[in-house]
């Protein structure tokens, strides 16, 4: 089975923002270990708090936003490496 080409470029799995909003809480820092489903951040959009869980288990390699930042759909919030 072919690997997703973006995986090999960034050596990790990106967590992508699904819709425009505001980061209201950042729950991890770079270097933290996470399990599949662990919440990385909470964003607010459409007057609701939306969880942003990690789709994989691994280590938080990079974080691109902090609490209070505006984010757009498709922005990469974080990269989780194996």
């Amino acid at each position: 089975m072919e690997k997703d080409s973006s995986d090999s470029e960034n050596e990790g799995t990106p967590i992508t923002i699904p819709m425009p909003g505001l980061i209201v809480d950042l729950l991890v820092k770079v270097g933290d270990k996470v399990k599949t489903g662990d919440n990385i951040a909470v964003m607010e959009a459409m007057k609701m708090e939306i969880d942003l869980p990690s789709p994989v288990a691994g280590v938080v390699k990079t974080l691109h936003f902090s609490k209070g930042d505006n984010v757009a759909r498709g922005d990469v919030l974080a990269i989780i490496s194996k």
């Binding site: 089975m1 072919e2 080409s5 699904p18 819709m19 459409m46 007057k47």
Partner: protein, 519 residues
């Protein structure tokens, strides 16, 4: 042929039948296995009840002689066709044979498939199409285009008459990939299925984009990104089991209702946990699947397009034995907004259920359509309109339960009374309004707030008043737009009773050639 005895003729038949069974021959079957794939006939065996397959056209051979094809004659050519039973129900099936000339579509493949689909129409039984093909048989030139065209035409003719299910267990490329595209549900198998109009080689040559077969059109891409695949599985066996299961929710044709399949699950079953499902904090999400599996028989729910447009959930379940189509927001994903993809996903599902007499159960917690330039420029106006049209057009029983938010246009679209929702319920936590309190107050009381010496406090008070007046189901219930406000614990029994009441419901739409649903 020289004169031979009946006995010898019988021996000859047995020998020819054996030959037909091996399709392209032992070596090609080996190659198929090496790719982790089953043969055309093995797939039919997995799909159908044991011993029920009646093959038609095993002796059909192609008529071409160009490009050395005269030496490559195969009994049955590159497709196995016939009828059989699934859980005792008649179905028609065609299964492309990759071992014969790469499963390529020839004039006679088209002829065989056309016959099967015509029989499905004449006998009103579902069609199961198993695809594994390199595409049109180039050596046959325009004859192969005729074949693909005939298949496409018959997909359209069968559409809405009998259920059509496609199982992609190999490549499907070029014009022929539009065949499964026209059918009702597409199954794919990870690592084995590929669907694309143009393959990676041509893509690389023309656009310089480098992608593997899986990246361009494999099961995961079509499950997650394009929404083309309705179901994906890890193995062919799981896949065919799932096809058998799915068919159980459908009738044989548009002229019947789906079969009742009784369960021991009490139709009056109460679930007190549902009273705690909606969080007190309006900003917090919850998992709508908890409600879905609480109200369906035995918690069974077959979700469709699970990984695509996840802010809306669609799928099949049973309620007191009755097959139903469930549509629900998923508040835990993107706040349950309706966007372009979720509009498309739900609209087609609504129309399938309507075509085949499957009642619709809609569970609503929707804050609105997703705003922003990405959606507007992408045409949310055209796509959202599909869902409105589909719900309005549907004449099957429509039962709706609003659990929390139902704002504005999204309230209207989600099977409201105004679109001929038959029985509309709301939980006490429902908020049915033109928009959220804050948004409304900002508009209505703009001047009051601006004129106040403490604008923030004034606004807060006005928001609170608005919430008390409108953020509840009673304003709508007072108008009869909500038929009953219900205890969440009783949702299953209320919906089942409603469906019983609506069992013989009849609705019509004006006579016309057909409407013009926005596409």
């Amino acid at each position: 042929m020289k004169k031979t005895s009946a006995n010898e003729r019988l021996k000859e038949l047995i020998s020819l039948k054996k030959q037909a069974m091996v399709g392209g021959g032992a070596k090609r079957i080996e190659q198929q296995r090496a790719l982790g794939k089953l043969t055309a006939r093995e797939r039919i065996d997995l799909l159908l009840d044991e011993g029920t397959f009646e093959e038609l056209g095993a002796f059909i051979t192609h008529r071409s002689s160009d490009f050395g094809l005269a030496e490559k004659e195969f009994l049955g050519d590159a497709v196995v066709t016939g009828s059989g039973k699934i859980n005792g129900r008649l179905v028609f099936v065609f299964s492309q044979d990759f071992t014969i000339l790469g499963g390529s579509i020839s004039e006679v493949v088209g002829q065989k498939v056309k016959q099967i689909m015509q029989m499905a129409l004449d006998n009103l039984a579902p069609v199961i199409a198993i695809f594994d093909s390199g595409g049109a048989r180039i050596q046959e030139g325009v004859w192969s285009l005729y074949a693909v065209g005939e298949m496409l035409l018959h997909n359209m003719l069968c559409s809405g008459v009998v259920p059509q299910i496609s199982v992609m267990v190999g490549p499907s490329a070029g014009g022929a990939v539009y065949c499964p595209a026209i059918t009702d549900f597409i199954f794919m198998v990870k690592g084995i299925s590929q669907m694309y109009i143009t393959g990676p080689d041509v893509v690389k040559a023309v656009t310089h984009e480098r992608l593997s077969h899986q990246e361009l059109g494999g099961a995961e891409i079509h499950a997650r990104k394009s929404g083309v695949a309705h179901f994906t599985y890890d193995s062919e066996k799981e896949c065919f089991d799932a096809v058998r299961r799915l068919l159980g929710f459908f009738p044989q044709s548009w002229q019947e209702k789906p079969q009742f399949i009784n369960s021991k699950d009490n139709p009056l079953r109460i679930d007190k946990n549902l009273r705690k499902l909606v969080p007190d904090d309006p900003k917090k999400a919850y998992d709508m699947k908890v409600l879905i599996t609480s109200i369906t028989d035995d918690g069974d729910f077959v979700e469709v397009q699970e990984e695509f447009a996840r802010s809306i959930i669609i799928g099949f379940g049973r309620m007191d034995g009755r097959s139903v189509g469930v549509i629900a927001q998923q508040p835990a994903f993107m706040a349950g907004v309706i966007d372009i993809d979720s509009s498309d996903k739900a609209a087609r599902f609504v129309r399938f259920c309507d075509a085949f007499n499957i009642p619709l159960v809609s569970l609503v917690d929707v804050p609105g359509f997703m705003p922003g330039s990405a959606q507007e420029h992408g045409g949310i106006i055209r796509h959202g309109a599909k869902l409105i049209y589909a719900y309005a057009e549907a004449t099957v029983p429509k039962v709706t339960v609003i659990t929390r938010k139902a704002y504005g246009g999204a309230y209207i679209v989600m099977s409201s009374k105004h679109l001929r929702g038959d029985i509309n319920f709301a939980w006490p936590t429902a908020e049915i309004a033109v928009m959220g309190a804050e948004g409304a107050v900002n508009i209505i009381s703009r001047k009051t707030i601006a004129a106040s010496d403490k604008p923030e406090e004034t606004k807060r008070q006005l928001v609170s008043e608005y919430e008390e007046r409108f953020s509840n189901p009673y304003f709508a219930a007072a108008r009869g737009y909500i038929d009953d406000v219900i205890d969440p614990a009783e949702t299953r029994s209320k919906v089942i009773r409603a469906l019983e009441t609506l069992e013989n419901k009849k609705n019509t739409n004006p006579k016309r050639k057909h409407g013009n649903i926005p596409l």
